[in-house]
């Protein structure tokens, strides 16, 4: 069953008087029980997509989409209230920077209890309800592997190490028993053991509760272990999306290939002391975006036709948008 269906999502930002497309025709479909990876460089608009889905964007930015539905309900045309209800109930977000996305003046316990849906409480009196809330909160903490719940619940966000706060954020995300968890670069800046714990936790949630996960990251290694489906983003455009294994085996878009090549762990044929490959140049700023395919200036295969925006083409479940895809001649 399709949970989230996004077609041609465009986000325009007003930068000193002119409207710039920060996201340009994004397509994404998230199915039930799926771990969907969203990959791209920093500044490619990954977090913007997340914010657009949950509606946490400034009001002045313009969002348009042909389709943006949650289980068939249109998210863009529904009232703000209805949308908030859906998000409260079905979608949870884990943010990049866990400490900054928690209120610095409230204890973690207060913030976790705020997230518990009130319909799950069976008791009637408020002291009973408070006690039940506390028990639920402690249960959640145990689920994500925080053992010292007493200390954790009574601490303020800045008093707790980063990876524990991230685990706590996952507990918060689980509080409403959502259908979809959006993890926006949850392992950023963490050392390997903490990272593995977080990733394991997310995959376990996916397996045990059959929750879908939209995993936003640029950590290809982590993604290839977890995800089944991948969407590659470059500078606000989706360049390629498809089954992860297929994508790894045969990427059509030069950018996807470059991305895969840039991760040394994927290249078993790499001889020692050989230079690591990377695309020349950097991602363009929003002030001067190239026309047509935005990869154009950096693309090793670019030709004159690339100044026109490439259409989305499809091979089975594999979508790509490129005029001159790799493996084309071979096909």
């Amino acid at each position: 069953m399709v949970l989230l269906d996004i077609k041609n999502l465009t986000l325009e930002i007003d930068i000193s008087g002119s409207w710039v497309k920060a996201l340009d025709k994004i397509n994404m479909v998230i199915h039930e029980k799926q771990i969907h990876a969203l990959v791209g460089e920093s500044g490619s608009g990954k977090s913007l997509i997340v914010k657009a889905i949950v509606g946490a964007l400034p009001v002045r930015w313009r969002i348009t989409a042909d389709r943006m539905t949650w289980k068939g309900q249109n998210l863009l045309t529904m009232t703000v209230k209805a949308r908030r209800k859906i998000i409260r109930k079905d979608i949870s977000v884990i943010f990049q920077n866990p400490i900054n996305s928690l209120d610095p003046l409230l204890t973690l316990g207060q913030q976790l209890q705020e997230m518990l849906p009130t319909d799950n409480l069976t008791k009637t009196w408020f002291w009973q309800r408070n006690k039940q809330k506390r028990e639920l909160a402690i249960n959640l903490l145990h689920k994500v592997g925080i053992k010292n719940h007493q200390l954790c619940l009574s601490s303020y966000p800045h008093q707790i190490p980063n990876d524990v706060v991230q685990k706590f954020m996952i507990a918060m995300a689980l509080a409403s028993e959502p259908k979809l968890i959006i993890a926006d670069d949850p392992t950023r800046g963490m050392e390997v053991t903490a990272k593995t714990q977080i990733l394991k936790l997310l995959s376990r949630v996916n397996q045990v509760k059959s929750t879908s996960v939209l995993f936003v990251s640029h950590d290809l290694l982590a993604i290839s272990n977890m995800a089944s489906y991948m969407t590659v983003l470059y500078c606000g455009q989706t360049v390629e999306s498809g089954d992860l294994l297929q994508l790894r085996k045969r990427a059509f878009h030069p950018y996807t290939q470059a991305l895969l090549n840039s991760a040394p762990s994927f290249r078993k044929d790499l001889p020692p002391k050989s230079p690591l490959s990377s695309l020349d140049g950097t991602i363009p700023t929003l002030h001067n975006l190239p026309i047509g395919c935005r990869l154009g200036p950096r693309c090793p295969r670019a030709r004159r036709e690339c100044v026109a925006i490439p259409q989305i083409r499809r091979v089975h479940t594999h979508f790509y948008s490129c005029h001159f895809p790799l493996h084309w001649e071979a096909k």
């Binding site: 946490a56 409260r88 977000v93 010292n148 200390l151 601490s155």
Partner: protein
């Protein structure tokens, strides 16, 4: 906790020491004999015996002199005024409460008007309400206090006759002095018609309070607006929205406290400005406060009075700002040390 308290006490003591030193040095900087400026006594008018006692202290080392000065200061012997010959401590404790009363009301008034308006402007950021509040506050900020006070007198007292021109209370009332704060004194006294006295006192209060409060209100609006906008754009507010909380919940649970904590020290810093404005307004409205008294002292070159008044006012300001700072420092959980423990 105790460390913080100790540090603040230390800071207050150091500041007060510098202030006392300044006031002591002032006596040497003013024209005339230092001993006259310190005590307010004219040497020529004293008996031989008193004179010799003073001489004994004057001829000593300057540090010993300072020691004597501090001793007298703590004993409550601040010298006498040149012009009236009354003990200064009585004068100061008579006039200071009137000023504190006026400033406190003005401060409360500007808080009550400024904070909600600042929040309103921030919530309607980039909209008509925001811009109009901003321009009104700019207007209020640029009006000089003395001019505003005169305009208010001209319009409300002379033209319309709604409010009295000057003073604290109608001369018909004889309020027995207990605390020095007139509204409290009225409530404490039992010999007079309380409601009539209260009305009269309030009518006298309105114009001076208004003219002081305008500048502070506009400042508070601007500071609050900036801080609220900054808070509402911060990451945890967006995260709270993303968790599906309503705007009302977000503002009340996460917005207000976070917006207020950084601005309260700034608002406390407005107190000295307010007091300065109060001094100007006092002399315009003939309010019997410390400002009016100090300005009179300056006119009459009453050096002991200037010294004592300056010391009293600055000590008041220092203690007030420090205590607000300390309260915020102790209540802000972000500043609390992490107790290191494994979780």
């Amino acid at each position: 906790m105790t460390k913080v308290l100790l540090r603040y006490t230390n800071l207050v003591l150091a500041t007060l020491f510098v202030l006392s030193l300044l006031s002591f040095i002032l006596a040497y900087l003013f024209p005339g004999q230092a001993i006259e400026n310190l005590t307010g006594l004219r040497l020529l008018e004293l008996t031989e015996r008193q004179n010799s006692e003073l001489k004994y202290a004057v001829d000593a080392n300057i540090l010993v002199q300072y020691w004597h000065y501090m001793g007298e200061l703590f004993a409550g012997n601040w010298g006498v005024s040149f012009s009236s010959g009354l003990p200064l401590i009585e004068d100061v404790s008579h006039y200071l409460p009137a000023s504190i009363e006026l400033s406190a009301y003005a401060l409360f008034l500007s808080f009550f008007i400024g904070l909600p308006l600042g929040f309103l402007a921030a919530l309607r950021h980039h909209k008509f309400t925001d811009y109009s509040l901003l321009s009104v506050s700019l207007l209020g900020y640029s009006i000089p206090v003395f001019w505003l006070a005169l305009i208010l007198i001209l319009f409300f007292s002379l033209q319309l006759g709604w409010f009295p021109l000057s003073g604290r209370i109608s001369l018909l009332f004889e309020i027995p002095r207990a605390t020095g704060f007139i509204l409290i004194d009225i409530l404490l006294s039992d010999s007079i018609d309380k409601s009539a006295a209260l009305t009269s006192a309030l009518r006298h209060l309105i114009l001076p309070t208004l003219s002081i409060a305008v500048v502070t209100t506009t400042l508070i609006i601007r500071i609050t607006r900036r801080s609220v906008i900054k808070t509402l754009n911060s990451e945890f507010i967006l995260a709270a929205y993303a968790r599906g909380l309503t705007p009302r919940q977000v503002l009340m649970r996460h917005g207000v406290r976070n917006a207020l904590i950084p601005i309260l020290p700034l608002l406390a810093m407005q107190f000295p400005t307010l007091l300065t404005n109060a001094m100007i307004v006092e002399s315009i409205f003939s309010w019997p406060g410390i400002g009016n008294w100090l300005i009179q002292a300056i006119y009459q070159q009453d050096y002991p009075a200037i010294r004592a008044g300056m010391l009293a006012v600055s000590v008041l300001v220092v203690i007030f700002t420090m205590s607000i700072d300390l309260t915020i420092r102790l209540t802000d959980p972000r500043r609390r040390r992490a107790e290191r423990a494994t979780i």
